[in-house]
């Protein structure tokens, strides 16, 4: 199997879905000739033309709103939000419209669409090109929320998202676009939504994560393994709905949980995982549920020392693992 980068896997998934199903269209800012500011759609405009790969006006609300309309008519739009930080103008369309359409119409109308957006910091993007926004959407029934951590999953999950009959938010760890490489099966395959992956087995404690921090968690696990701490790593992959079974089983085994994400702590996605386990795995727990998250400041600052202060990384995770293991 060829080794490719995360972003290449994402592009491949879109390319193959465009070829497979003519209802699939891409809508977004600079997705055409420019091939996307991160080049996720590079070459697709040339291959599928301006009818399939559509440069939108600079207006996220209507990127999503138009996508919803097209989906209602039977298309399968993939809407790109250039940075997750710019998704808020479309919040009303996503939360009040896309998420509630199926329910409010008693199932008559559904919105099969994907909203892709790069998220996360560590790339010098400052407050508005670094945000993690998953917690806002993982709270909303009717949406699905997916975050891949590696190329093979990214391709398979994105294909599942495109084929899913619901609105799916697909957040991509942009710092990993070119950094994270991996083997990816050629041709068509899917990775099911709603299923976590145990990406490392271990008996001492469970680390729950996704996306970029999952990548760091794996590195941290290697480091502490040398010290004799055996970490089980869960890559959630789908944040809504999340895979309760896999979580419960792992905690039954390890009794200790560390949840890691980059978004700020308070009200972050990790809170739901912790709350779920504090209710449903209470008797299996041998230690406080620990969350390692971004600090409670508005977003990732630009200047390097401050950015580094903000970002979770393998070292910080290793420290948290050691502390929890020692509890």
């Amino acid at each position: 199997m060829p080794e490719i980068t995360l972003i290449e896997a994402i592009r491949q998934a879109m390319d193959e879905e465009l070829a497979r199903d003519e209802r699939v269209v891409i809508i977004g800012e600079d997705v055409g000739k420019r091939g996307g500011v991160f080049r996720a759609t590079q070459g697709l405009y040339e291959k599928y033309g301006p009818q399939r790969v559509i440069d939108s006006p600079l207006a996220e609300l209507s990127i999503v709103g138009v996508g919803i309309g097209a989906a209602l008519y039977g298309m399968r739009p993939i809407c790109e939000i250039q940075f997750a930080d710019f998704i808020y103008p479309a919040f009303n369309q996503i939360v009040n419209e896309a998420a509630k359409m199926c329910y409010r119409s008693n199932g008559e109308w559904t919105v099969p669409m994907v909203i892709r957006a790069p998220y996360g910091g560590g790339i010098g993007g400052g407050l508005y090109h670094s945000q993690s926004v998953e917690a806002f959407f993982a709270h909303v029934p009717g949406l699905k929320v997916v975050i891949p951590s590696n190329p093979a999953d990214a391709k398979g999950l994105l294909k599942s998202a495109v084929r899913d009959p619901n609105p799916v938010l697909f957040f991509e760890p942009k710092k990993g676009y070119r950094l994270i490489r991996g083997e990816v099966p050629e041709g068509d395959y899917t990775v099911p939504l709603g299923k976590a992956k145990i990406s490392r087995q271990g008996a001492d404690l469970t680390v729950v994560s996704y996306g970029m921090t999952h990548y760091y968690a794996l590195k941290a696990a290697q480091v502490v393994a040398a010290e004799g701490i055996e970490t089980e790593i869960i890559d959630l992959r789908t944040l809504l709905p999340f895979d309760k079974e896999t979580l419960l089983q792992s905690v039954k085994k390890t009794g200790k949980v560390l949840i890691v994400h980059e978004d700020n702590l308070t009200g972050g996605y990790g809170a739901e995982i912790a709350a779920f386990l504090a209710e449903h795995a209470f008797t299996d727990l041998d230690a406080p549920i620990r969350r390692l998250a971004g600090p409670d400041v508005p977003a990732v600052p630009f200047s390097h020392p401050m950015q580094d202060w903000f970002m979770p990384n393998a070292e910080k995770i290793a420290t948290a693992i050691r502390e929890l293991a020692a509890f």
Binding site: P57, G65, G67, M75, Q93, K100, E108
Partner: protein, 329 residues
């Protein structure tokens, strides 16, 4: 007077306006009787809606309506019985199975998409449907409506802009009844006509007397044909008046004078339609009597039907959150 439509069709339009009016009045009564929780009225808007409805190919073209569009919905085949199910939150409400407030339409069989309460969100949906139609090379048209107040939303602006840039087959109707609840047009916009907004977006904008169903029909016909023939979208402003309070929750006396309301009542769209059709020799006092009688019976039947229908069971509220558990998906 040259008639733009066959007599039969004109009578059908009048009948639908009349039926809408009588159903609507009955809804107010049901509310006063404590039999329904909420009503939001189309009274005063009937002509604008019927003129629009008959300008499209109903059941073929697509519609993204707003809450005042009872007449439009009836013209699209939504039945009085169905309306009562919606009003009463009963099982079988075709719009939402009782999930949404009344007058939040959806009717898949008639290509009417589901809309929500947050105003103007349907505008970009209409543009998206228009985009899909264009991409597929079909000749369908999309009709979408909002009140004039709702055009203050960025939602409206962005949706219309898409349609203008991509020359999409959409007609954007603005039902301008001068008020957004209590807020008058002048506090809402600095243009004299809501249709003037089209100037800033690069598409045609037309204002029309929305109390005159034939005037609306003519203007709409042109806009719909342009859209169908690849000429792109149009903004049509129908100048109407909301003769009732904003909704059953509103009391309009704090923000507008009784004189103003009375004055507009003299331009009641139903009255104007009747006069026009009588003058054209299509309608007689006797015929009106018959239609009134039929409307009365239809309304009674609908109310009885609604009242005897069961409520949804509580557990139905658990579904369908996702398309997987939808009946129709």
């Amino acid at each position: 007077m040259v008639l733009p439509l066959p007599e039969e069709t004109l009578l059908e339009m009048y009948w639908t306006m009349l039926l809408s009016r009588r159903l609507d009045e009955r809804a107010w009564v049901l509310h006063r009787q404590g039999k329904i929780a909420f009503h939001i009225s189309a009274i005063g808007h009937e002509a604008a809606q019927i003129g629009a409805a008959y300008a499209i190919r109903r059941g073929y073209d697509w519609v993204a309506p707003y809450y005042r569009d009872l007449t439009l919905m009836l013209a699209l085949g939504y039945t009085p019985r169905e309306f009562m199910l919606s009003l009463m939150g009963k099982k079988g409400d075709p719009c939402s199975g009782g999930r949404q407030m009344p007058n939040h339409w959806s009717l898949k069989r008639a290509n009417v998409i589901s809309h929500s309460s947050p105003v103007a969100t349907q505008t970009s949906h209409a543009a998206g449907i228009g985009l899909a139609i264009k991409l597929r090379g079909e000749d369908k048209v999309v009709l979408t409506t909002v009140g004039e107040g709702s055009t203050s939303q960025g939602e409206w602006y962005e949706g219309v802009n898409w349609a203008a840039v991509h020359k999409l087959p959409v007609v954007f109707i603005i039902a301008n009844n001068l008020y957004a609840i209590s807020v008058r047009q002048e506090q809402q916009m600095a243009v004299a006509n809501a249709a003037d907004k089209a100037l800033g977006l690069g598409l045609p904008g037309v204002s029309v007397d929305g109390m005159d169903f034939l005037a609306v029909y003519e203007v709409m016909k042109e806009a719909v044909e342009r859209a169908r023939n690849g000429g792109g979208p149009t903004v049509v402003e129908a100048k109407v008046y909301r003769i009732t309070p904003h909704s059953s929750d509103d009391d309009d006396r704090s923000y507008r004078s009784r004189e103003e309301v009375e004055q507009f009542k003299r331009r009641d769209p139903l009255l104007i339609a009747r006069q026009k059709l009588e003058r054209a020799g299509i309608l007689t006092a006797q015929r009106v009597e018959e239609l009134e009688q039929r409307a009365k019976e239809t309304v009674e039947d609908a109310v009885r039907f609604g009242e005897s229908a069961p409520y949804p069971s509580p557990e139905e509220a658990a579904f369908p959150v996702y398309a997987e558990d939808a009946r129709y998906a």
